[in-house]
């Protein structure tokens, strides 16, 4: 299902009972993964998506540029997520919020937490452990890498994480760098 088709159904008042199903199949999985990457639990993620759906149905008539439907959708989701964190006093977990700050963090190496001291039975265990560490330390980068792995275009990634195209490119480049740094130790092990 394409964004345009979903939008058409949403705008056609006669199809609203189908539109929410289409929106669900178009949006739910990606939104859920995004929220999980932002450390929400499954129940909270569903609540945030629910609020997003409600807002979409309430405000669909205020959307001026149809081509920006998808980014509008993701903006609502991110705002709801931030609202959720604000209400539950979890502001420290807000990600993809302020671009400038994030970019600063990304360019510095201070927050890279790779533990080199541990011994691993074999290389595969090492990679698994490091992957978990990467996900825990940098869930937003982990999410971005997964999107890249699935061949999601930079434009689409930028819509989801709410950054400009150029900033997303830089973010992805930094994410790759971070990811690689996690596996330096594993690389030297025997498979």
């Amino acid at each position: 299902m394409l964004a345009g088709e979903v939008l058409e159904q949403l705008q056609d008042k006669a199809n609203l009972d189908i539109a929410y199903k289409s929106l669900n199949s178009f949006f739910y999985r990606n939104a859920f993964r995004f929220l999980m990457a932002n450390k929400l639990n499954a129940a909270d993620a569903d609540d945030v998506i629910q609020e997003t759906f409600i807002k979409v149905f309430e405000k669909i008539d205020t959307l001026k540029d149809d081509s920006k439907f998808e980014s509008w959708l993701w903006t609502i989701l991110r705002n709801n997520m931030n609202e959720f964190y604000r209400k539950s006093n979890k502001n420290n977990n807000v990600m993809f919020g302020i671009e400038a700050e994030d970019l600063e963090n990304l360019t510095g190496d201070a927050d890279v937490k790779v533990s080199y001291g541990q011994k691993y039975d074999d290389q595969h265990n090492c990679v698994e452990e490091k992957m978990k560490l990467f996900q825990e330390d940098m869930p937003d980068q982990h999410y971005a890498i997964k999107l890249q792995m699935e061949d999601v275009s930079i434009k689409d990634i930028s819509i989801r994480i709410g950054r400009s195209y150029a900033a997303t490119k830089e973010f992805l480049s930094q994410s790759k760098k971070k990811l690689k740094s996690y596996f330096e130790e594993c690389k030297e092990m025997e498979a």
Partner: protein
Amino acid sequence: MMTEQQIQDDFISILQGKKVSGMDAKWRVVARMVRNILIKENNIEEQMFVTREQNFEKRIGKVLQARYLIPKQRRTFAFKSWILALFIGASGVYATKEYLHFTTPLPLELTHTQEELEGQDPKLFWKKWFNNGSFIMFGHRYLANPVPTNIGGCDGDQIDLKGCLELLKKYPSNPNLLFNIGLIYQMGFDTEVNFEKAAEYYKKAAALGNDYARVNFEYLINQDLIK
């Protein structure tokens, strides 16, 4: 010698499942392992999403309906159920009406209607609708249990045409007796089956207020047994 940037790009290409040549063998192994881990993660997620997505669709449908953001769904299932129930009920009524008739001789003392008897004995009401604990709808009309009578000769135990006609001379206005004679002609208990005569006696009994006779008379008409 590969640059850092090249290694990173190749790493992502391996994650995407693309063929990469000239990449450092050690990094290639690591990248493949990462790819396998991510694929495994995705597979687990996909399995989880199947049910989550369906459940969420139901949930959001209800929420949007409750807020009047989408029209309430027509309850087609309930509607169909009602139609089905109505159809079954109508069939039951039709079937019982169509084939209902009495085949048990009535006690000659019974000159009251069922409703009148119910007024005297509340248990009869339940007996009308239930038989050994089972709901029998209109089936109670088959369960006309004759009560003992002291008028011999034309009751359930010793019914014969001759005896009944003898009694008729003595009790010409006993509707149950007229019904029983009609029944003898209808069923051919002691004589040839004669629906015309049966109808004649039923008509007389019905005129005297015997509902059993009326029902059997209607049965003869409905079944085209009389002209």
